[in-house]
C-alpha cells in the first residue's frame, strides 16, 4: 500500500512503456463491489477473484483509477486512500505494491500496475481486495437549501468496475445513510432495493474497459465536514512525565449552503424537536484512555459549551461550536489535552548501553466522519534530544526538522514536523514512531545557565547597593 504519486509516476512510466496490459492475460471471476455513501466521502471497496488466463505465469496485473482524482487544479487530489490486498484462504490479507501510470487513456483513466508477491501460475486464481476512498466527489443537490429543508447528495459512479480484463460476474452494492436513496439510475428491474442498499447486477461477461454510469441521489442530513487544515502538536516532557497534545482545526461545512438567512427561532424549534440537520450542532471526539485536563478554545477564548465524559475505556469530548455550522459556514477551534508520557513512551538500552526512547503516538486523532485537506503533525522532543529515526505507518508524508527555544532553554529542543495532504478519519489507526536519545551533557545546560544568571544578578545588586552616587553631602529635612 506504499504509493507516492510523484515518485511512483516516473517508475510507472518506465514500467508501462515496456508492458501494456493485454485483456487476454487475466479474467475477473465474481467481483463484488460495495460503494459506501454513509460518510462525508465515498468509500469504494471491492473484492474479486483474479484468474490467470495467459500462457505464462504473471507477476503483476493492472487496475485503473479515474484520472480526475488526481486533478492538478484542485489544491489536493481527491483520492484519499488506495489499498490493494491479497486475500489468502484463511482470510488473512497482505498488502500489495503498486504503481500508478502518469498518462491518461482515452476513457480518462490511469492504469495501476500491481505487483504480486508470488507469480500467479497459469490457470490458477487469487482473491484480491481493493479499497479506495475519494473525497469531494459528493455534490449537494440542490447547491443551496433553506434552513428547514433536508440536504441531498449526488453520487456519480459506474455499475461495473473499470477493468482492463473481462469480468465474468459482477455485483455492485450502493449503501446510503439511514434512508433509501430517493432517486437513482434504474433499468427494468435493476437495481434491487433492500432497506438502504441498492444492489446492481449481477452482470455477466462484461467486456474489458466497459463503462456504464450510475447516478444516485440520496438524502443525507448529516453535516459534511471538511477540515481544510489540522495542526497537531505533541509536547514530550520527561521532567513532567507528560505528553501534551494540542490540535488546531480550521473546518467548513461542505454540504449544501444555507439559502436565505439563519433564523434562531426556527433553529430553536428544530433543536426542541431533535430534528436531524445538515448543520453541525455538536461533535464528539473519542480520545485515548487516561486523558487529562481537556480544553476546547478558539481564537477569542474558551468555549464554555463543551462537555467531557471521562469513560475509562474511551473518554469522549463532546464539543459544541459557538454557533451551529450550516452549509458554507466556517469555524475554527483548538482542542488540547494531556497524557501520562508512560503510556506512549518506551525506553530500552541499546548496544552501547545508552538508553533509547521510542515514542509511539497516533498520527491523527479527533473528529469522526471528516476528511482533512492538510495535516501538520509536529512532535516537540525534550531539550537536547537527538533523533535516531522517525517512522510513520501512513507514509505519504514530508518531514521537516527544526529547533525550538522555550522555557529558558539553553540548547533548544528538536521539533519533527510531518506534513500530509488529503487524509480521512479512517486513517486514525496509522501511527507515528519517533526514536531518540537524551545525551546527558545537554541536560545540565539549562540549570547551569539559570543559576549563573541568578548569581550575577545577586552580585550586581550587592555591588550597586554599596555604591554611593550622591554628589557632595545631601542635607535632609
Amino acid at each position: 500500500m506504499r504509493f507516492s504519486i510523484v515518485a511512483s509516476a516516473l517508475l510507472a512510466y518506465a514500467a508501462t512503456v515496456l508492458s501494456a496490459p493485454s485483456p487476454s492475460d487475466f479474467k475477473v471471476v465474481n467481483m463484488l463491489r460495495t460503494v459506501d455513501l454513509m460518510k462525508a466521502y465515498v468509500r469504494d471497496s471491492s473484492s474479486f477473484i483474479l484468474e490467470n488466463t495467459s500462457s505464462e505465469p504473471k507477476s503483476s496485473f493492472y487496475l485503473a483509477v479515474n484520472s480526475s482524482y488526481f486533478d492538478d487544479d484542485e489544491t489536493t487530489p481527491k483520492l484519499a486512500m488506495y489499498e490493494v490486498k491479497l486475500k489468502a484462504d484463511d482470510a488473512s490479507t497482505t498488502p500489495l505494491e503498486f504503481e500508478i501510470a502518469p498518462e491518461v487513456n482515452e476513457d480518462g483513466m490511469r492504469l495501476v500496475e500491481v505487483a504480486l508477491k508470488t507469480p500467479l501460475e497459469v490457470g490458477s486464481s487469487q482473491t484480491i481486495q481493493l479499497v479506495t476512498a475519494v473525497v469531494r466527489e459528493l455534490s449537494p443537490i440542490p447547491k443551496k437549501i433553506k434552513q428547514s429543508e433536508p440536504q441531498n447528495l449526488m453520487w456519480e459512479g459506474t455499475k461495473v468496475s473499470y477493468m482492463p480484463y473481462p469480468i465474468v460476474k459482477q455485483r455492485t452494492k450502493v449503501k446510503t445513510a439511514d434512508r433509501p436513496p430517493n432517486a437513482y439510475s434504474k433499468h427494468i428491474d435493476d437495481p434491487l432495493v433492500e432497506g438502504t442498499t441498492l444492489t446492481y447486477g449481477p452482470y455477466n461477461d462484461v467486456e474489458p474497459y466497459a463503462y456504464d454510469p450510475i447516478l444516485v441521489k440520496y438524502e443525507y442530513n448529516i453535516p459534511v465536514i471538511e477540515v481544510s487544515k489540522l495542526e497537531r502538536e505533541l509536547w514530550v516532557s520527561h521532567t513532567g512525565g507528560n505528553l501534551a497534545t494540542e490540535e488546531r482545526y480550521w473546518l467548513k461545512n461542505a454540504g449544501a449552503e444555507l439559502k436565505d438567512n439563519f433564523s434562531r427561532i426556527r433553529w430553536q424549534a428544530s433543536t426542541m424537536a431533535r430534528e436531524r440537520t445538515p448543520a453541525l450542532r455538536s461533535a464528539s471526539v473519542h480520545l485515548r484512555p487516561g486523558v487529562r485536563d481537556v480544553y476546547f478554545t478558539d481564537e477569542i477564548g474558551n468555549v464554555s459549551t463543551s462537555n467531557f465524559r471521562d469513560d475509562p475505556r474511551s473518554p469522549i469530548m463532546e464539543i459544541r461550536p459557538r454557533y451551529p455550522i450550516f452549509g458554507g459556514w466556517n469555524y475554527s477551534f483548538t482542542l488540547g489535552w494531556n497524557h501520562d508520557l508512560g503510556r506512549s513512551l518506551r525506553s530500552l538500552v541499546d548496544s552501547e548501553g545508552e538508553t533509547v526512547y521510542v515514542l509511539r503516538v497516533p498520527l491523527i486523532e479527533g473528529l469522526m466522519n471528516v476528511y482533512y485537506n492538510e495535516v501538520e503533525v509536529s512532535v516537540v522532543l525534550p531539550e537536547a534530544a537527538e533523533i535516531l529515526s522517525v517512522e510513520s505507518t501512513y507514509t505519504d508524508v514530508t518531514e521537516e526538522r527544526s529547533l525550538l527555544f522555550s522555557h529558558l532553554d539553553a540548547v533548544g529542543r528538536t521539533v519533527v514536523k510531518l506534513k500530509a495532504k488529503n487524509m480521512i478519519d479512517e486513517q486514525k489507526r496509522s501511527e507515528l514512531y519517533v526514536t531518540y536519545t537524551l545525551p546527558s551533557n545537554g541536560q545540565y545546560a539549562k540549570p547551569m545557565l539559570v543559576a549563573t544568571a541568578l548569581i550575577t544578578v545577586f552580585f550586581a545588586v550587592i555591588v550597586l547597593g554599596r555604591i554611593d552616587i550622591s554628589i557632595g553631602k545631601t542635607k535632609t529635612a
Partner: protein
Amino acid sequence: MQLPTSLPPAAANALPLLRTLTLFTIAGAAIASRLFSVVRFESIIHEFDPWFNFRATKYLVANDFYSFLDWFDDRTWYPLGRVTGGTLYPGLMVTSALIFHGLKALTLPVDIRNICVMLAPVFSGLTAYATYLFTREMKDHSAGLLAAAFIGIAPGYISRSVAGSYDNEAIAITLLMFTFYLWIKALKLGSAFWGALTALFYFYMVAAWGGYVFITNIIPLHALVLVIMGRYSSRLYVAYSSWYALGTLASMQIPFVGFLPIRSSEHMGALGVFGLLQLVGFAVYVRARVPSKQFKVLVVGSVGALVVLGVAGIVGLTVSGVIAPWTGRFYSLWDTGYAKIHIPIIASVSEHQPTAWPSFFFDTFMLIWLFPAGVYVVFQELRDEHLFVIIYGILASYFAGVMVRLMLTLTPIVCVCGAVALSNILDIYTNLEKPVEEEEEKKEEKEEASPLKKATTSLIEDEASILSLGSMSKKPLIGVYSNWARGIVLGMFTLYLYMFVQHCTWVTSNAYSSPSVVLASQMADGSQHIIDDFREAYYWLRKNTAEDAKVMSWWDYGYQIGGMADRTTLVDNNTWNNTHIATVGKAMSSREEVSYPILRKHDVDYILVIFGGLLGYSGDDINKFLWMVRIAEGIWPEEVKERDFFTARGEYRVDAEATPTMKNSLMYKMSYYRFADVFGRQPAIDRVRNQRIPSPMQDASAAPIELSSVEEAFTSENWIVRIYKVKELDPFGREHAAATAFESGKKKSGARGRTAPVGGHAKGRARVLRV
C-alpha cells in the same frame, strides 16, 4: 511621635528582611485577590476599552514602535478612519510589549493575551510597594506596611485592576504613587537627582493616562501652598524646577500631548508656579544680599508686580484664545452641569456620574472614616510633605464625589491616611511600658527640666500655628496605663482589620470580577450558567462574513467588534466624532425609509444590536436608545425628536402603547423582530422592561413586525446579540417595502407558517454586575 522601641540588635538587624518578606506577601495577596475572574471564568480581556488596548498592543507587537506611532486605522470610524497612533496614550501598550519581548528574549514565549490580562494585578503589586515608600516618608515603616496592605486589597483600586481589565488606569495608579513618592523625596532632599526621577516617572505617567493632569496640578498647588505659608526653601526650588523643566519637555514628546503643556489652561497652573518660584527665589536671594531697607522693599514690590503681571498675562492669553480655555472633561469637573448640556456623550457614560455615598463605603470600608482621622494626625506635626497629603486628600475626595471613576485617585490617599491613623493608634497601644503616675515626681521633673524642655513646653502653651512645625497638642504624650485599655482597643481594631479583609474579598468577588463579555446567570434550579452570546455572535461575524464587511452598531460595542469580530466598524468607544455617532443614532432611531439611504451611504453590510428582552439583560440597546435619540437630535433637531419616543403621558414604553415613532424606528424593529413568536400563544413579555410586546398570535390586531430593507442574519442563543444584513438595492429598482410586500403576497403567510413556537425558555436573569 516615635516611641522608644526596645529591640535587641539582632532583631533590629532582622527587621529589613522582615519588611521585605511582608512586602512580598502583600504583593502576593494583591495579585491573588485580583484573579477571581480568571479562576471563575477564564483568562479573558474585560469590558470595552481594554479590547482596544489589547488590539493596539497586538499591533505594536506585530509591528515596530514607529509604525505603531503613525498607525492609521482604517478599520474603525469607517469611512473616516482614525489616526490611532497619534490619539492614544502608548504607555500601556509599550509596557506590555516590552514585557512580551523581554520574556521572549529569555525564551519564555508567553501569549500576549495572558500578559495583557495579568498586567494589572502585577502592577497592583508594585502599587503596594510605591504606597509603602510614600507612607514611609509620611510617618514610618509600620504605617508604610499598613498602607501597602490596604491599597493592595482596597476595592476602590481593585475595581480597575482585576485580571483582564487591561486599561490605562491599571498602570497609571502605580505611576501616580511612584511619582508622588519621588516628589516628596526630592522635596525633602532638595536634590535635582530625585527631581529628575520624578520627571521621569511623570513622563511615564503622561504616556500612560490622561489623568496625569492631576499630577500636573497637585504638585504646583503643593508648591504654591508652601510658598504662601512662607516655607519657601532652596530644596523646594530645586525639586520643583528640575521636575517641571524636565517633566514638561519629556511630556511634550508624546504625540497625543504635543504642545498642550504650553497651550492648554489645565497646564497653566504648573507654569505659573514655576515662574513664581523663580521670582521668589530671586527675591530671597537679593534680600539676603542687599543691605538697604528701601531697596529690599523695591525688590519685593517689583517681584509682586511681576507676579501680578504674569497672572494677568495668562488670563489675557486665555481670553484671547492663544491658550485653550477650560473645556471638556476637565472643565466638567468644576462646572458640574457643563457636560450634560454641551457634551451629551460624556454625560451618557455611566462612570462619569456623581458618586452616591454607598460607593465610598463600598470601595474603602472603614478606611473612609479613618481617612479624616489620618488627616488630623498628619496635622499634628505639619511637615512639608504632610501638606501634600492634606491637599491631595481634599482635592481627591472632591473629584471622587463628582465622578464615580475618580474613586480610583481617592483610594490611594485614603489608604495612606487610614494607615497613618491606625498605625498611630497601634504604636501607642502596643507600647507596653507603663508610664509613671506619681504627680509630685512629675512636678520635680518640671522643676529641673532642661532649658530645651522648658522652651518646648512654653512653645506648646500658646496655640500651635499653622506656619510652625512641631507637635500641635499642648500636653506631652504620656502613654497608656492599663492593659485593659490596650486589650480593648487592639482587639477592636484587629477585628475591624479582619472584617476589612472579609469586605474586600466579598466586594471583589461579587462586584468587580465579572468580565461583562461573559455573563454568569442562574438557571431555574440555581446552578451557575455561563451566557456567552457576545462571543458567539462576534465569532460568527469573524468567521462567516467578508473580511472587509462594515458593521454598524452603537458605539459601546465598537471596540469589542474590532477586537473579537475583527471587522470594520462605524463608531467605537473612542468617541472623537460626535456627528458620526449622531449619524448612527439617526439611522437607528428613524424609519427604515430614512435609515436605508444612510446605511447605503456608509456601505454598511451588517447591523448589530444588543437585545436583553428575552433574558433580562438590562444593559441593552433599547435602554440606551434614548441616548442615541438625544445625540442624533443634537445634530438634526428637526428630524429626530426625543419627545416622539415618549407616550402622551411622557412614559418610555415598548409595548402596545409605544408611540408610532418608537414602533417604526429601526432599532425597535430589529430588537423585537419575531420576538413574540418565541412565546407562541403565551404573552410575549420583555423581561427587562416588564412590558408586553404585541403578539400577532394573541390578538389579530397586532401586525407582526416586518423588516423590508434589512434581513436577520444571525441571532445569538439567548437573543442578546442580533445581527442584520443590509439588503442590496432591489434588482427591479423597487422600494424595499414594496418588494417585500410583493414577496410575502406571493407565498401566503409563509413567515407565519414556518414559525413553530418554542416553549418555556427557562433562563434566569443575567446577574447585574454591580450588586
